[in-house]
Symmetry: C2
Amino acid sequence: MERRFTEPLRERGVRITPQRAFIWQTLASSDGHFTAEELWERVREILPGLEISTVYRSLEALAGAGLVVESRVGEGPRVFEARSAPHPHLVCEECGNISHLDSAAGGRILEALEAETEGFRTRELHVFATGLCAECLASSEG
Amino acid sequence: MERRFTEPLRERGVRITPQRAFIWQTLASSDGHFTAEELWERVREILPGLEISTVYRSLEALAGAGLVVESRVGEGPRVFEARSAPHPHLVCEECGNISHLDSAAGGRILEALEAETEGFRTRELHVFATGLCAECLASSEG
DNA sequence: GTACATGCAAATGCTTTGCATACTC
DNA sequence: GAGTATGCAAAGCATTTGCATGTAC
């Protein structure tokens, strides 16, 4: 296990276990979004006895430490990702793919929202659009 | 049943049943957000035999006709509301209250998002912030 | 009369929880 | 050694589905 995958946990007081470390490694090595089940499948290749309840509990610990954020984008189960600058998600209704805007674009939108929410103390912003991604759009119009 | 609660269903080809009409009436008479269970409780006062599965199926019909939109804001079950101009939701983590920005403010944010999502054909935009509402903020800071 | 919606009951899918054991600090 | 995380099994909650009956058109 590379140190860059354990250090963030130690820094934030998250007890380091193989389960947590590999789950964090999976999330931190990708800019993608994973369901608990997807993480379970991946990490089980390394830790065969891993339980999905442990995945949920690990994600809770990582989210509590601010390393991971969860979202409910459209239908289906929650997705988890390594925390980065807030960014809007684009969810394709056809293929289910989740992409995200770059954080500059995201930042402009989020600033606009912040400016409107006086009186409310925002802790977390969630922005997503559902629709058709470029690929599915092309093939449906093809 | 007032005509203004049945006419929108007829216009859109949604078969009118007492269950659907009263569910729609509940949603259309309020600018609030309801879970399926909340709607069930309210409408059961008028239609005592109402099943929650019927609530879900009615909401699906109303949503399919474009009269109702559903959102997953934060934790907990989905909420449903009568469709109006798209607007961001503000969800208080403390008291659970869901408020929304007025549609002018919402529109500006949503336009900003639209402008960034080229290539993606947006069908539905979802924007919500979780945090503390003014009331809970005041009482927590005493 | 035909097609569709409802009630009822059971099943599903995702997520959480209790408890004994194992591990981290 | 003390406190916490894990595996395992079971429960929980929100939501969906199958089927017979009832209702809207």
